[in-house]
């Protein structure tokens, strides 16, 4: 029997990491854009809980601030902003992708295996309690990337992009208990500004094309 009993907070962290992976697969297969944004908010909430757990475990104050920042930005503000955009732009459904859902899932599994393999040397060198989750963080990043590639609506691509940022944040947390505060604030500011810029951008696209389907944005070719 090789199940050694871990302390409860590490068990919870492992469970949160597994749930994050599950959520990114759920986002990969989700076609309703409102549900996609809700899954993103849930991902942010799980990240916040994980940060709080780590903060409690290591006693470092900047992680508490980090958790608050995550809560405010990724759980409350950004999903609200996206929901508002969805309502005003009227984009509720994504179209069928080129590869069907089952095929995308299988590719996702392969991507996860690749990510775990890539993260092995880093995990071996890390000294944090959550070093095993680095592979999961990398998997979340790559699956978010896959989500972006397989989407045709601009809004879904943006959600994929934000999910990638979540994965990066989780990776920073698992590998090094978070980046220095200055950098985290800067990254949060960047994400915030990016979303605001996007909001304006979406209206411009919508005004011009009457649609947020990306097929309208593919006409510039190499020989134009």
């Amino acid at each position: 029997m090789n199940m050694t009993a871990l302390p409860w907070d590490l068990q919870l962290l492992n469970t949160l990491a597994a749930l994050l992976l599950l959520l990114s697969f759920a986002m990969l297969s989700q076609r309703r854009i409102v549900a996609l944004v809700d899954l993103l908010a849930l991902q942010g909430a799980l990240l916040c809980i994980a940060t709080l757990l780590l903060a409690w475990r290591t006693g470092s104050h900047h992680l508490y601030v980090s958790a608050a920042l995550t809560l405010g930005l990724k759980v409350i503000f950004l999903p609200w902003l996206l929901h508002r955009l969805i309502r005003r732009l009227g984009v509720y459904w994504d179209t069928e992708p080129l590869l069907n859902i089952a095929g995308t899932m299988l590719v996702g599994v392969l991507v996860v295996i690749f990510a775990f393999g890539l993260a092995q040397p880093i995990s071996a060198l890390a000294s944090t309690a959550t070093r095993n989750s680095i592979g999961i963080a990398l998997a979340v990043i790559l699956i978010a990337f896959l989500t972006m590639i397989t989407r045709r609506k601009a809004m879904s691509q943006v959600v994929g992009f934000l999910s990638m940022e979540n994965g990066l944040f989780f990776g920073a947390m698992s590998a090094t208990y978070g980046m220095p505060m200055v950098v985290e604030l800067g990254v949060a500011l960047d994400v915030l500004v990016a979303m605001l810029v996007l909001g304006v951008f979406f209206f411009q696209i919508r005004e011009q094309f009457d649609s947020l389907d990306l097929k309208h944005l593919e006409s510039l070719k190499e020989d134009q």
Partner: protein
């Protein structure tokens, strides 16, 4: 192995054969309660089987020997499976005959014979049902196997009774890998046993049938054996799920008093499992047949995620 173990072994088999129909009756009763209907008595499946045994079998003229043989093979496979599944105890002499992977093979044998027999007579609905059953099976089996891999990895063995023993010895801990595989196993259970959302067991519309269509040509004792085998299959799956995911209370020693605990506890667990199954069936709508592969792909995904999480996090 001592005599006591052999007694427990045969008790287990007997219990499975006896309790399977009442388990089906219980699930029907729960479903009726949830849907505000009144169900037939819990013992109705027994009466149905007994009635069928008294009838004369009517067999198509062009039915081959396979057709007559299949019910016995299927029933035998299910009973053999019941022998290897630790429902009330984990010290089973028949463990050496078949491990978990062989168990999957036994279930597959049953499925193959069932489908072949349905196609044997050459009716349209039989072939339709056979094709659908094989499609469900071919997608569900990998998921089931990955579930078994995960559990085997956790316990370093593929023999189900030993898995149950080791998991029951461990105190409760949050295991995301086991949680994911539990979800996957439930989905496979629903698919393999012809439950909503994959197949409606109470349907009379042949075009929507998957499992029922395979039984259309059978009558009398053959039909009785097939119905009993289907009930046994559900009972077996439920016992596998309970042994792996909720194993506490199972008898692991050769002390007769441990049986006094494990048998009633099994009853309680089965009651809860049956109620849970009825709840899932009531809350879900039946999927269109071409959506079933997506459902099973999700089950496979859950199982593989459980495997990956186990390999990476060790939890």
């Amino acid at each position: 192995m001592k005599a006591f173990d052999w007694i427990v072994q045969f008790m287990g088999i007997g219990l499975a054969m006896a309790a399977a129909p009442v388990f089906v009756g219980w699930v029907n009763q729960c479903r009726a309660w949830l849907q505000n209907k009144s169900a037939p008595s819990i013992l109705q499946p027994y009466r149905a089987i007994r009635k069928l045994f008294h009838k004369d079998a009517v067999i198509a003229e062009n039915a081959s020997r396979l057709f007559r043989l299949a019910p016995y093979v299927v029933f035998g496979a299910m009973v053999t499976a019941a022998a290897v599944i630790p429902s009330i105890a984990t010290r089973l002499p028949f463990t050496q005959a078949a491990d978990a992977i062989a168990l999957v093979g036994l279930l597959a044998t049953a499925r193959v014979f069932l489908s072949l027999a349905a196609m044997d007579v050459g009716t349209a609905f039989g072939t339709l049902g056979a094709r659908r059953e094989m499609m469900i099976g071919f997608l569900a089996e990998p998921a089931l196997l990955v579930v078994i891999f995960v559990v085997s990895l956790t316990c370093s063995t593929t023999a189900l009774p030993i898995i149950a023993e080791r998991l029951s010895a461990q105190s409760f801990a949050l295991n995301p890998s086991l949680a994911f595989t539990a979800v996957a196993f439930t989905m496979v259970l629903l698919a393999e046993n012809a439950r909503i959302p994959v197949d409606n067991p109470a349907t009379h519309l042949e075009l929507t049938m998957i499992h029922e269509a395979l039984l259309l040509e059978y009558s009398a004792r053959h039909l009785a054996l097939m119905e009993w085998a289907a009930a046994l299959k559900l009972f077996n799956y439920a016992c596998i799920g309970l042994a792996v995911f909720i194993p506490w209370g199972i008898a692991t020693t050769d002390d007769p008093s441990s049986l006094a605990v494990s048998v009633p506890l099994l009853g309680v667990k089965l009651l809860a499992a049956g109620a849970g199954l009825a709840l899932i069936e009531t809350l879900s709508a039946k999927l269109r047949v071409f959506r079933a592969p997506e459902f099973l792909a999700t089950a496979f995904l859950f199982a593989v995620l459980g495997l990956l999480v186990r390999l990476l996090l060790g939890a």
